[in-house]
Symmetry: D2
Subunit: 352 residues, 4 copies
């Protein structure tokens, strides 16, 4: 395939105020590859809540007033490689890691600053150069659309469940809050790992999906506002081994009440409203809980996640809510904002 | 249930020479319970290769010339508890751990000496007292016969796959040698944990069983004496993450060749014939392999294994080859010796 | 040594209101040993802040209105053993674990309820029976007074630094808040492990002691109320690997700011005043911090701690502030309450 | 500093037969830097037994008949950086990792092929380009000569003692065989980590050095050919927690006998003569030993090792036996071959 000269890409203009509504398609030069870079044709991208926050300038104050190429998650095809690249060749099917600089181990300020779609240009573009070391081969049986859902949501869930202290093992019990992107992947990975899942939602319809994906216990927290009591009932007052905590201020106290002594609560989201009591660290102490913040994950973890997916294809099919055409970026953001979706919102960037 | 006064039990007499053929049923007093002991009615027992070795006096030279109550693996029902026992009550369904003194962590000479059916009396008896701390609740959905297969073979497999260095995780690849008791459980636990299994056997019939239990790749080593080459082919020259090594001298060299750099080889059996080259530690070095000896496991691990089994009931049903009546102990040992079985040989000790 | 018939012991009477001031010595029968118990002559006991809280009925509401034998930490000499005890013999020098039922792994509600000096009678008594499994041999070179300081404070510090996720290793940097019992042991164990310690205090005098014990960096937080900024300066904006967090509400926010991305904050105390912002879990997320509650520790960990102490005798001598006679229990509690001490307050229970 | 045009470097010519005696200094062009490379002025290099083996064509058959630039271990100064390098600048003091491609985690065939001084040109050269990611900052207080001893021997020792299964902790007991490069660093790192060291040697003089470096127990195996018995005596029949196994065929059996049940034996060297019995895997099984092959280590581990060294400067000063001038390379190899040294043989490549 010959290397194109132009790439159509979205920008969030600098003077936006009303979030994503001024998303605009522009045309830019395809960059010259550095020696260790790879040029990728982006086939599909998926959206995150983070993309909305960035659009509304609620994410990082330092980003306010900047023009941004949005989007962190994509899957695509290698078009060309820099002169020192030996790992990739044209035709390879790849995802970029959320932070292409985060290769292994803990993140650092430098790897965090390299995350896509914020201080660094994002992936809502037809062609983009990435550092070769920041790419990962996608699961063989995945379409580009499916693979585009992995970098942020799936890797966060994988990292949460496979930590150093309490890595998930078959027979563990996992509490999954809600049915957002991270939660759905957490549910699937837990089931694929032989664990028992308790899923919560405010909607019976969404709980049906959780049930279909293998959750063994379902709690509609509309009907059970003290859902932590339900969790303790199900686990015979022991509590669960792991909580995928996507709620934040409004749920964290109940999550810590739900965990067994010595279990893990993985802090992923911080969005829900409400305050928790100041004695929460007393609660952490009394549960001997391990509360761990999760910052997406590394290239090394991404590779392990691909192994998990390829070994468990029936249990790990990404749930895609809706696919939008490249031109319909504003509609895609609006759909994400509506919170009616279960599963991921995907944009088809280039034709396959 | 009233406490019985007599217990029928098997002994291997001191003057045996021809192995298990002099197995005799005797009648003994049911022991008085110590304050921390539990009296268990043994419903079912399963046999191990170790039981044959002990019968033939090939196991531990210090055992030669001793009268032995054989059998290490059983499941039964609590009949009575000592005065300081608070964890158990009559009617509870339990297994004894292989060494009831091995509660957690690494074994010690003392816990090894406490193993059942060797220096300590075994379980081929109708009623036996056990230390309360050495018992484990059996999986809820298991029959006594099924549960009797767990203590030695299953826990060895569980311990091998869930070590400190490289605990199994979904997506790993596991090489299982043969279809003996440990190997079958290893296969099942690996599949339940979301791993990919490569199974070997000299018999296509046995491989069919491995296939049914979820093995993804099958190697008949009659047709492929260089089976390690097949393993490397299947794994694209990377090698597997884990080898459940039950062969010993005749297979260990090939097993180490089969493992990926940094992977684990778990030494369980030492029975096969043949010599390995003296450069085997050079091979271990070049593979950066972790070769780990497995000595059954602890009560704490047994409890984790029960969690795994209860969470994955379809994938972990014990494979029972044949059940013998209590009176047919010699026939049961003979069947085990014939090596025609796939799965466990069980003796029904008491009527359920 | 003949078994005594009477034991003098302290009680906090049921109708106390003013804390420890009604502490009274009574005389009770020495209990008959159960088969698995050991009778210990208590030589020395050390006091904890917990003992004060229990005296003031601030510890656990369910304890209010109960008569209590106070004290959790002691060292003494084995006088007699129950008929099934094989591990101990008269003359052995031992500590009881804080919860003699917590043998290994995570605590449980049952092991927590078995902690000494609360729902179970404590150790401010001349003779006490303990379950054999709950005792630990004391360091060979320690006096009874020294050993009496270990069960609660030292084991908490050891458990914090030797967790599953981020066990301390030589070269790590550890932040120690204050110079209370846990903090001093944390400092000593960190230094003995080859780590670099940053110590804080409000008193230059106390910092001198920290300096003498091997702390490399000292921060007087009177002069530096934003001590987390000092910590970041010392670590070149990276943050420390571990924080021994004994403060609670008033310090936890700064502690999390002090830790490196991916580092550990061990929640031990919850006493200091002040509120933290509700965005604290956002901070945990952004630091990918591991915040872990520490509930003392197990017998297995106690044994490992004794190994550490015996291998590093010069660096791990307990700091004892003052030793009181048995009759001066009220004065000992008062001295503890005054907070003028650095190091442990010890009561000599029996003559050595 | 201006970039030089020529670099004097050693080669082992293709037609050598008699090992290192044909070592020759040639002059080559300083290479043009790739975008992600760094040009380093090599100040000092240290020799390994591996360098001798390569010279004698005993290392890897595929290397036979090839011209080789020898040497894997060096320390030097950054002279210039490629256009995409942001981590390094002129003047930085660095070591190259043994395999500059081994960044983290387990090695791979590709990282092993990238090791210096074999298939890739080595470091006995005045100026050499390295990939930026393969360099590590050296300890601040080290001279270049001291730092040149770290890459192979020290990192191997560090990797052995800090594995996944049984990382060293204060209070552990470590058996160190001999006083070669890896063993001396193993001794120092163990002592710095608060462990107790048992050292062996055939020479009382060398044992004196081990004593000075902090070994607590010394065994001269000339006088005690059954040195494993001495080890068991010292450890009261328990065995040690870790063995740094540098001997190979002649010592491995005794090493496994020396380890505690559940302890670790780290296979590093394979040189000593002698055969071990074929039942060695039975021994591994009965000790539940973890036998692990060590292939040097990664850049991430190297960084952790530098932290350890900087935090424990008094205990980790490299032992340098002798320093040779660049022109005296043959003499340096001869001195290494003589095996009279304790500690490292260093070549001063450039003037500081």
């Amino acid at each position: 395939m010959s290397i194109p000269q132009k790439s159509r890409q979205y920008i969030l203009p600098a003077g936006r105020k009303n979030g994503y509504k001024k998303l605009t398609i522009t045309e830019v030069e395809v960059p010259k590859l550095k020696a260790t870079e790879v040029l990728v044709k982006v086939h599909a991208a998926s959206l995150q809540y983070r993309d909305l926050m960035i659009a509304y300038e609620h994410y990082d104050p330092c980003l306010a007033g900047r023009e941004i190429v949005p989007g962190s998650d994509m899957a695509g095809e290698v078009i060309a490689v820099g002169q020192d690249v030996t790992d990739w060749k044209a035709g390879d099917r790849v995802c970029a890691n959320f932070s292409p600089a985060h290769l292994h181990g803990d993140p650092t300020p430098a790897t965090m600053a390299a995350a896509l779609g914020a201080f660094e240009p994002g992936v809502l573009t037809e062609y983009r150069a990435f550092p070769a070391a920041g790419l990962v081969r996608i699961p063989k049986h995945f379409s580009y659309q499916q693979a585009s859902t992995l970098p942020c949501a799936a890797l966060t869930a994988f990292n949460a469940l496979n930590g150093r202290a309490n890595p998930i093992k078959a027979g563990d019990t996992v509490l999954i809050l809600g049915t957002g992107g991270v939660s759905i992947f957490g549910l699937q990975f837990a089931v694929a790992s032989g664990a028992t899942v308790i899923a919560t939602s405010s909607s019976d319809e969404k709980l049906k999906i959780a049930d279909k994906l293998g959750a063994k216990h379902l709690i509609n927290y509309r009907n059970a506002p003290d859902w932590e009591e339900e969790v303790l009932k199900i686990t015979k007052d022991v509590g669960v081994d792991h909580v995928v905590e996507v709620g934040g201020r409004g749920t964290i106290y109940k999550s810590i009440k739900s965990v067994r002594i010595g279990g893990g609560v993985y802090v992923i989201g911080i969005l829900s409203k409400g305050d928790f009591p100041q004695d929460i660290f007393r609660l952490i102490l009394l549960r001997a809980a391990e509360v761990r913040g999760i910052l997406i994950g590394s290239v090394a973890q991404f590779r392990d996640m691909v192994k998990l997916i390829e070994a468990n294809p029936e249990k790990t099919t990404p749930v895609i809510d809706k696919v939008f055409k490249f031109e319909d970026g504003v509609a895609a953001f609006a759909h994400l904002e509506s919170q009616k979706h279960v599963g991921k919102v995907v944009i088809q960037v280039s034709k396959d």
